[in-house]
Amino acid sequence: MRTAPRVGNFLLQFLLPAALLLGYGVWSAQADSFYFPPLTEIGSTFAETWLFERVPVDLLPSVSRLAAGYGLAVVVGVTAGIALGLSRRARLTAEPVVEFLRALPAPALIPFALLLFGTGTNSKVFIIALGTVWPILLNTIDGVRGLESQQLDMARSYRIPSRSVLLHIILPAASPRIFAGMRTSLSIGIILMVISEMVASANGLGYFILQSQRGFEIPEMWTGIVVIGLLGFVLNWLFLRVEARVLFWHRGAKGLLGESAAAPTADAAPTADAAPTSAAALTADAPTPVAATADGRGPDTATTPNVPSTARSSRPVS
């Protein structure tokens, strides 16, 4: 019905990126700057370097370290988070230590990791895991605590075995929060992957860009930066896909609830994108209208990570 403005809006999005790229291309072609090589040179160097000569040498080790460290953090964070979420006493006991370790910037532990594991892959995996575990842990604790106690009481009075309680009640209820934490951790993980490879390393993306800089191979350095940027972008995108799939029930339920309110805004990018998903995070105990509107933004979820928590906190209200 209103296709014309929508196409216009769609094209508008590409205007600025195109202008920026073009601007840089034109400027760098004549600027003859040492630090900012021409776009075409970066492009050709990129093709030479990353298709696919250095992929197994630098990209794969980086990604596998990230996967190992991140996977470790997910396992430890979720397990410990459920345990701490269920027991108030354990939570209080662990609180000071968790708070301290969380506040400790992970890079500060790189020398410690080198001491402990040497310069190999293990120290990098350790740093990544240590830095990414906290958001997952804290979100899991919150997710488990947010579980309605009636559900647990119900499960107990029906004598549901604890394994089933864990798998069918606790985990699903906490999963939106767990995913929110995992998402935060993913970007931290990429950062730590790069940092850990910059110190005492023999390969990896971080190593590559730092070496290129030290060797004054500026176009190579730029291609490394582009690769890291693309990696971050792609992993983020993949994560959203996985999240949408795993939490489909969550979104589905939300979609039904918010159907009437959400349908018209689904396509109108401005309002839908502007959806203040954070409203619920900040005003979970605010008057009903806020929560209700936040709840109505259902289909927008594809781009909004913390919608899960939005949904949960607003569900009791609606």
Binding site: P17, F100, A108, I110, A180, I191, I225, I228, L282, T283
Partner: protein
């Protein structure tokens, strides 16, 4: 893509804390005092375990000096002006970078939040730049700014820019439309609308953005010192590791952790105080 941080760091409203409201004040105070027993026990337990492990040789003593020695070393360092100089260097990078990011990101975020068209135009650029880890820019920053304080400030500012920008955008976009329209229909001039409607409702978001960024700023400042060797705590840690004074390395790491914890605590306290009127801060959930 947007608000992931908020989930972990939003002040405190957690569902499931409802019953707390009903409890009597006295009882909750006593309970809160009692809560400190397991907390202190937790700290004591971990310290004792580490001490024993190191003294008995379960952990190799040369890489894991006993906790008591680490604390002793830290106490010794506290009396030494050298430590405070390093902390000052780190904190200067932290503060200048954070300030710079805030000065740039808050107005820009408010502008993008207020104008749909501007937001749409810049959306792709922002969405693409945001996941780009700031540390990827370290080599570039070294080339352009050298290895000193400027490089540190640039990295901190770049990394802190995004959370503050996003929070400002959401804050402005999240202004209650009824309040906004009411103000407009009562003929409030734009400046008054900004000061009375937009700024107050965006303030909690911006505060959250600043708090997230403060932690990020510390990480980036330390990274700049550790990896590149800009002067500060991070470099001091590396120096003591390389020179073999492991106890001092641990003491410095401990100091860094305490610094991070202190910053976070101060930020939360200030936020609570300044935004006491806001619903999310009205009731302290525990």
């Amino acid at each position: 893509m947007r608000v992931a941080e908020k989930v972990t760091t939003a002040p405190s409203p957690q569902p499931g804390t409802g019953p707390v409201a009903g409890r009597s004040r006295e009882g909750s105070l006593r309970r809160r005092a009692l809560d400190w027993v397991p907390r202190l026990l937790g700290i004591a337990a971990i310290l004792v375990v580490l001490e024993v492990c190191s003294r008995t040789g379960v952990l190799p003593r040369e890489s894991f000096p006993p906790v008591s020695e680490i604390y002793g070393s830290l106490l010794g360092l506290v009396g030494d002006p050298g430590l405070w100089v390093e902390i000052g260097r780190t904190m200067r990078g932290w503060a200048v970078g954070l300030l710079l990011a805030a000065v740039l990101a808050v107005p820009l975020g408010m502008l993008l939040g207020a104008s749909r068209r501007a937001f749409q135009m810049s959306r792709l650029v922002i969405e693409f730049l945001r996941p780009v880890p700031s540390v990827a820019l370290i080599p570039l920053a070294v080339l352009v700014f050298g290895v000193g304080q400027d490089m540190k400030v640039f990295l901190v500012a770049f990394a802190c820019f995004w959370p503050i920008l996003f929070q400002s955008i959401y804050g402005v976009q999240d202004v209650d439309p009824v309040a906004r329209d009411t103000a407009r229909s009562y003929g409030l001039p734009p400046l008054a609308r900004f000061a009375r409607i937009i700024l107050p409702s965006a303030a909690p978001y911006i505060a959250t953005g600043l708090r997230i960024s403060s932690a990020i700023a510390l990480i980036l400042a330390l990274t700049a010192e550790l990896v590149v060797g800009a002067p500060g705590l991070g470099r001091a840690i590396v120096v003591s590791q390389v020179s073999g004074s492991i106890t001092q390395m641990y003491a410095l790491i401990l100091a860094t952790g305490l610094l991070g914890w202190l910053l976070n605590t101060v930020f939360i306290a200030v936020e609570r105080r300044l935004l006491r009127w806001h619903p999310s801060h009205r009731e302290v959930a525990l």
